[in-house]
Symmetry: C2
Subunit: 378 residues, 2 copies
């Protein structure tokens, strides 16, 4: 009898009712039955994206939607700003470079959020900047960028604001329209509580103007084809039917809870996790701008960070994430995103305490769980 | 109490044991557990593709793998041959054009297979041809091209042979290595008995030489990144975990049956379907080179083809496919692919008879089912 817990920043656990929808006998996509599903999820996605624009569903990982943003907005030789505050910000730069778009990189120290003033300055210095690419939550460092403030500085300029909200959308607040986010991309396996395999992209009217002008080659990710298809409640290529049917269920759950309550739950879980880490004597990797979807924690001196994560997973079946790239072995990342609630957090902290104690780290057993309980009790 | 039957050329029905795998609690992809799945499906895919080369799994529709073939083999300004014997052959031309690759189109009358000698002649006339793009089974017309013969004419030349085997792989024979197919692309929702959302691509050593030289821009579909990742039993971006876990199950089923038996089953079902149509007085759209995965049938005079398909689906819940593009309303397509066996065929024909009779078409009720039973009885 083995019970497993998943506390990683994607994939996140799937609610059983969502899995059940995914496993239902498949239907054909060119039927009124499936068109009804497309209509339903289109409305649901607008609600979660907080936008009046259409949200397109792609059959791809989140990276596919990121590529869609680049190739549909830009032409070879264009110049953009990319914000690199972690591994996923770097991906924007890589995609731009692959398509011969010049990226002016704003390098941010890992663990910090980007300063919106830096973006403002760069746009002022170079009026040719066509787009600003940034990240809602840098999963690799556990930092949330201030998208609202970035939106304010980009809004009045000729540039469009593109946000990778793969990690965070549907878990923390992102007001696409109100914050002037022109292009918002996301993925299925995070706040939306689905398996990976779907990605999403919304485009503002300002972004659509660029789509018509962009000369980057594109076919599978051509948003003009997606737009034409959606007008007929269709997709340009065979959609990932079972995942979209599951999406209808997860969106229904989110609507029933209400976005504000979903965000409040994430805030509280993040608070509890951070308090627990503090009372265990552990240091947060990103004490300022700490994300409410994943908490990155410094591995204490004398402890093998990779072994900590492996033992939690392989011996106790509680899966958290280790550090990525330059943070490998130096941090562990404890996620509290999606279909996760307070008692999952308690389990995760309890397991962390158990393994830390076994590995010889000094602290009072129960201190982390107590701190979390106190937050949840309020 | 409503029972549904799906006899379309993709998606095809999902075996319940495959759906159950898909619905299991999700696991993280960067774990030994999921690496074991990648290893298992890699072996299984080689078996089904009949190749010793690695087969890469992409999170996309089949069209994504088609795009991967084009952008990884070619550079802007290159010249290739595309075989257009239906809607899906045309897609090769469209993708090439999107990436500034010149396509010498071989137009084949819809309902006919391409003549391999025509390909041979074209390559001889233009030694700059870098690749030949063709289709195993043209789902839109119900025709199978003779890939073995095409392989023989392309083999000795400087060009690579690329086959869209999205429709047909794992249902009819395609010996990737033995027939000198350099690049074989496929999708999950046909012979592999899965929901749509995964695509596959195999590359021969001859194809890999082009990959290193190709200058088409690419990122999400960059096979160099996929290769690097697979060497570490990984994927470059988050894989469609639940679909890949389901794939392990469907590949296991195919291995247990044995490919030869799978092909024989499809052959017999196709035979039965064709005999039934004949005895119903209906005419096949593609009497020569008729595919064993889908049978295209001319709508008889005086019958509304679109209404026929709609009535079968909406009144009796037996879903077959109508005609696409120029064949809209002129043919219906009765698929016998994937998780389908003789009694599904009987149901489909029985329903077809019922609706044809209701619509005033003259024939002896039961004649189609009788013809099919006779084939299955042998």
């Amino acid at each position: 009898m083995r019970k497993s817990y998943l506390l990683t920043p994607g994939p996140t656990p799937i609610p059983p009712q969502v899995s059940q929808e995914e496993a239902k006998p498949i239907i054909h996509h060119l039927t009124p039955q499936f068109q009804a599903v497309i209509k339903e999820v289109s409305e649901g996605l607008k609600y979660v994206f907080q936008t009046a624009s259409d949200v397109y569903i792609l059959a791809s990982s989140g990276t596919g939607a990121m590529e869609a943003a680049v190739v549909n907005l830009l032409s070879p030789g264009d110049t953009v700003i990319t914000v690199e505050a972690g591994k996923f910000g770097e991906r924007w730069t890589e995609i731009c470079q692959a398509y011969c778009v010049t990226a002016e990189v704003i390098k941010v120290e890992w663990g910090k959020a980007v300063d919106p003033k830096e973006i403002e300055k760069r746009i002022k210095n170079n009026p040719k900047i066509k787009a600003v690419f940034t990240t809602l939550c840098e999963t690799s460092t556990g930092v949330t960028n201030d998208i609202q403030a970035i939106g304010t500085v980009v809004k009045g300029t000729g540039a469009v604001l593109v946000v990778d909200a793969i990690s965070g959308l549907g878990a923390i607040d992102l007001k696409t329209d109100a914050w002037s986010v022109d292009v918002c991309v996301s993925g299925s396996q995070k706040g939306l509580m689905l398996p990976p395999g779907l990605s999403f992209i919304s485009l503002s009217p300002k972004a659509w103007e660029l789509v018509e002008l962009a000369r980057s080659p594109r076919y599978y990710f051509d948003m003009r084809a997606a737009k034409k298809a959606l007008e007929k409640t269709d997709t340009p290529y065979t959609p990932a039917i079972s995942l979209i049917i599951a999406l209808a269920e997860s969106l229904k759950m989110m609507k029933q809870d209400g976005l504000e309550n979903v965000f409040a739950r994430h805030r509280k879980m993040a608070d509890a996790t951070r308090c627990a880490m503090k009372d265990l004597g552990l240091e947060l990797f990103a004490p300022t701008a700490a994300s409410d979807v994943v908490t990155a924690v410094k591995v204490p001196a004398g402890i093998d960070g990779e072994k900590l994560v492996k033992t939690m997973r392989d011996t106790y079946r509680v899966t958290i994430a280790g550090g990525q790239a330059e943070l490998k072995g130096k941090v562990f990342r404890f996620a509290h995103m999606g279909y996760i609630e307070e008692f999952d957090i308690i389990v995760g902290i309890s397991c962390l305490e158990k393994v830390l104690k076994q590995m010889g780290y000094k602290f009072e057993l129960g201190a982390g769980v107590k701190a979390a309980e106190e937050v949840f009790f309020k």
